[in-house]
Symmetry: C2
């Protein structure tokens, strides 16, 4: 794995198109993975991300307790593993082992990066005031990594039960919008 | 325009993939359009949507005052108009007139539907407690419309300044995830 540092000011461009992501956490040396689609950018820099993680998910309490996670962005090649991680719970299995995913050491958080994902965002939880009412967490991305071998990654975007849109071509239009 | 009612329980499938949307509002008989990419689903049913609308935007105060809007989902054919709406402010122009978009009457809110968009979600603002700190509004979708002529719409997904990913093909995988 040859990950490169990615500028925090450009993190929004990874999440704004709405890809399915995999959230990793770690507590007492035990790492877990959760598949997530309900997230939004909230600020450009420092990059802030809002996300909904159900209190029925194993990750909910870990995130509340550890205040750390990594947002990993998979591309199409990982689609099956993304779904498998979404269909199972870390309460009963070690998802890294079961689905042959590789944990890699993060710099600032204990949660591991998923080596197979093309981008990894190390995050601190900065606001849990809406966690009880809406399962909503606000994260700050403190370090971003990218591992791109040239072409644009085919991110996957969840439509509904088992159905995903795969990122298509890119169009460019004159725009003043960041 | 022959819009059909769309089940509220399936609204998440329209927004979860992360398309750029156009938010319409209306105050004192004056309608406006804002381009938006920072949104997330927050609940399946009733469908709740969280979105970030900057306090620098003309829409911010209108939304706070009227507590109503429509989320309109454009497909690729409207990309130029989507960017134009993002590059201009309703403070100085009438975007419906300037960009030749057609306002259509909503059922439950004063904000108009954009007739050219393939889906329209009538929304009430249900929580503004994070509007001051994070420009974050929580909306409930109270009525949904769809206008699909068969094939899957090519939604557009904002990558960065003037660069958009166009929705590609759909893949299906066995999944228990809603």
């Amino acid at each position: 794995m040859m990950k490169k540092s990615f500028p925090l000011s450009r993190v929004y461009s990874l999440l704004e198109p709405g890809p399915v992501v995999m959230v990793t956490t770690s507590r007492k040396g035990k790492a877990n993975i959760m598949t997530m689609s309900w997230h939004t950018m909230m600020e450009f820099e420092p990059p802030m991300v809002g996300c909904v993680i159900s209190n029925r998910n194993y990750t909910f309490n870990i995130l509340k307790a550890t205040k750390e996670c990594v947002i990993n962005i998979p591309s199409e090649e990982l689609a099956k593993k993304v779904v498998s991680c979404g269909n199972t719970s870390g309460r009963s299995i070690d998802k890294f082992k079961t689905f042959s995913l590789t944990p890699a050491k993060a710099t600032y958080v204990k949660a591991p990066l998923i080596a197979e994902c093309y981008a990894n965002l190390e995050c601190k939880v900065v606001d849990t005031s809406m966690a009880t009412k809406y399962n909503f967490f606000i994260l700050e991305v403190i370090k971003a990594w990218i591992n791109l071998s040239g072409k644009h990654p085919r991110t996957i975007h969840h439509l509904s039960k088992g159905s995903f849109m795969v990122a298509g071509r890119t169009i460019r239009l004159p725009s003043k919008i960041k």
